[in-house]
């Protein structure tokens, strides 16, 4: 189970990459407090105002192209960048951790009772 979003920003892939990987830039849009070492194996800690904290490990980091984070609860986020007319297309896929897949099967695997 996953969610998917796609959006074009009027900025170059390099500019978008900075906004996706530099902690002080991530604090402008992703979380309130960010620590991130944006290279494969690097650690990330994200904190929000409501006290929520999520930790992640960087699985892939190809500057200007692709960033993959594994959340410590087993979900993952894939961010892909592509240069297009007028800017950069960002494609986001967040995949749910296993526990929610089990719930999905429960919710969606209903069959009509004869």
């Amino acid at each position: 189970m996953q969610i998917e979003r796609e959006i074009v920003f009027p900025a170059s892939p390099d500019e978008v990459w900075e906004a996706l990987t530099e902690p002080e830039r991530l604090e402008e849009w992703f979380a309130t407090e960010v620590e991130l070492d944006a290279q494969p194996g690097g650690a990330g800690v994200f904190r929000w105002e409501n006290g929520e904290e999520r930790r992640a490990v960087v699985r892939e980091a190809s500057p200007g192209e692709r960033l993959v984070l594994d959340w410590d609860d087993e979900g993952e986020v894939v961010l892909e960048l592509e240069e297009v007319d007028g800017g950069t297309r960002v494609h986001v896929v967040e995949t749910a951790p296993d526990w929610s897949t089990a719930l999905e099967l429960h919710a969606l695997a209903w069959t009509p009772v004869a």
């Binding site: 189970m1 996953q2 969610i3 998917e4 979003r5 959006i7 920003f9 009027p10 900025a11 500019e15 978008v16 906004a19 830039r25 402008e28 849009w29 992703f30 960002v90 986001v92 967040e94 749910a96 929610s100 897949t101 719930l103 999905e104 429960h106 919710a107 969606l108 209903w110 069959t111 009509p112 009772v113």
Partner: protein
């Protein structure tokens, strides 16, 4: 049949068909969608998709809103429980974040 049981029966009928189940998942993963958008990615006609979306809305599984000449659908999380609630929550969080990211990039470009 009372109203509550009729509703449950409609939910089961609506989800008994694999095509309709995958439509619900397709709408949930996008946050919202129109028949035209979904037909572009599925091996079915727009008309067939529109008809199934309408029956899913009748069963209370999708919420329909008019968007110009088209009807836009989103998933009603309540009947599904945690799985679709996850999609709606996480999808909504990304909608907010991407809006803020766009603003941050525009602010920077303006400096």
């Amino acid at each position: 049949m009372d109203a509550g049981r009729l509703r449950v029966s409609r939910v089961f009928d609506a989800l008994g068909d694999p095509g309709r189940r995958s439509l619900v998942e397709a709408v949930a993963s996008r946050g919202s969608a129109t028949a035209t958008e979904l037909a572009a990615e599925l091996p079915v006609t727009r008309q067939a998709v529109a008809k199934q979306l309408m029956s899913l809305a009748d069963a209370g599984l999708l919420r329909a809103t008019r968007a110009g000449r088209e009807t836009r659908y989103e998933v009603t999380p309540e009947p599904f429980g945690d799985a679709v609630a996850w999609m709606v929550d996480v999808g909504g969080a990304w909608d907010d974040r991407l809006a803020k990211l766009g603003q941050a990039l525009r602010d920077r470009a303006a400096r």
